[in-house]
Amino acid sequence: MKLTVQTNKSDQDKIVEGILKNDPQTIKFIYREHFGKISSMVNNFRYISLEPQDVFQEGLTRAVINIRNGTFKGDSSFSTYLYGICRNLCLKEYNRSKLLTTNEIGDIKEEIEDDYFDSIQLMLKLKDKLDDSCKKIINLRFGIGNDNSNITRFETIAAKLNISADNARQRFGRCFAKLKKLVVDNPMFNQLMD
């Protein structure tokens, strides 16, 4: 599949560098340079109800995360990559309306593998079903907000919550069990986790 959006090498290096540095100017630059073309592409899909702004923000979020975790190898230009992600989002939405042919679906799978982001969005939905105290203790245990570590020891959690370490462990255990049950009860999630 040929995509017509181009970015020169110098721009691309700056974009990747800016994203890795969390530079807001880079995001603004990407918006200025690419939103128009992607907006036109989204508007050309007749049977989807997605807004160009939403598709662009979602696509850019995925591109940024993929650059950070090294999934984006730079084989294609950043423009093409971002355009492809956004187009893929539209095609998936289009597919949901049962209007896409099997061949087109195959084409999407080759272009960008995005089951990972489907899993993330499902996890966010399940997370929303947990109460705030559970979200808090799981966030603490999984090191959300920590700079270097993805784990927080129960003794540290206990000190933050002004409870005992055993109490912290028990609370986490109960909340994690709730999360597991939500996952097990969700057929879509099980499919993605296999």
Partner: protein, 231 residues
């Protein structure tokens, strides 16, 4: 999966197992499918939870930048936007002023700003009231002097339905405008297109309400008065 094994998994993740306990746990991970599955799930869910948090944070950051970008567009162009808005307000204000003036008629019956066809005036010597366009307010002839107002003068009184013939004297043969205003606020009620050589103009159905009025021709230096009374 029992609570003891769950505690073991958490201790292992924390690096809290040592010596024989650690070796035993790692051996079980290789042989105990249930424990192995539980451990892998624990790791997988944690990764996904962390990635989901990172995703949310990243998207929120991008959305915020877009929002600021949109706000900064308005900030950067605020003078232009204010200028356009101010121009529109002025235009709307001028439009309403003109329309109000145009509708400021007597008895509330349409606009009496007459722009009478020459043929009608010559034949009937009578004004025919008709609605006009505001833009014509700007089209007024200016004659200056050498015009003498003859009638009505000095507050001559007319009844409400009585025709009024305005008379003047002039040596000029030019088109001009006869103005009629209310004395109290000097608001122009009528603009009548006349020819100075005609020397008079009759309004058959004046529709003036009771009150005092002024009349004059174009921008001559004086006016005359008449009044409308109920007889």
């Amino acid at each position: 999966m029992n609570d003891k094994d769950i505690k073991l998994i958490e201790d292992y993740i924390d690096g809290g197992l040592q010596g024989e306990e650690l070796l035993s746990f790692e051996k079980r991970l290789k042989t105990d499918k249930s424990l192995s599955k539980e451990y892998k799930q624990r790791i997988k869910y944690a990764e996904l939870w962390i990635d989901a948090a990172d995703y949310s944070k990243t998207k929120a950051g991008i959305t915020e930048i877009f929002h600021k970008n949109e706000v900064s567009f308005f900030q950067a162009n605020r003078y232009l936007i204010f200028s356009i808005a101010a121009s529109l307000i002025i235009l709307v204000g001028v439009y309403f002023l003109l329309v109000q003036d145009n509708n400021g008629n007597i008895n509330g019956v349409g606009n009496q700003f007459a722009d009478v066809q020459d043929s009608i005036r010559e034949k009937e010597k009578t004004i025919v009231f008709q609605y006009d366009e505001p833009v014509k307010l700007a089209v007024m002839d200016s004659v200056g002097s050498k015009i003498q107002l003859l009638f009505p003068i000095n507050g001559e009184a007319f009844s409400e339905s009585e025709p009024i013939t305005f008379k003047w004297k002039s040596d000029l043969n030019l088109n001009d405008t006869l103005f009629i205003c209310k004395e109290s606020d000097r608001k122009i009620l009528l603009r009548l297109r006349i020819n100075l050589a005609d020397t008079n103009y009759t309004i058959k159905y004046p529709q003036f309400t009771q009150g005092k009025y002024l009349w004059y021709i174009s921008d001559i230096a004086y006016y005359e008065k008449f009044s409308v009374i109920n007889r």
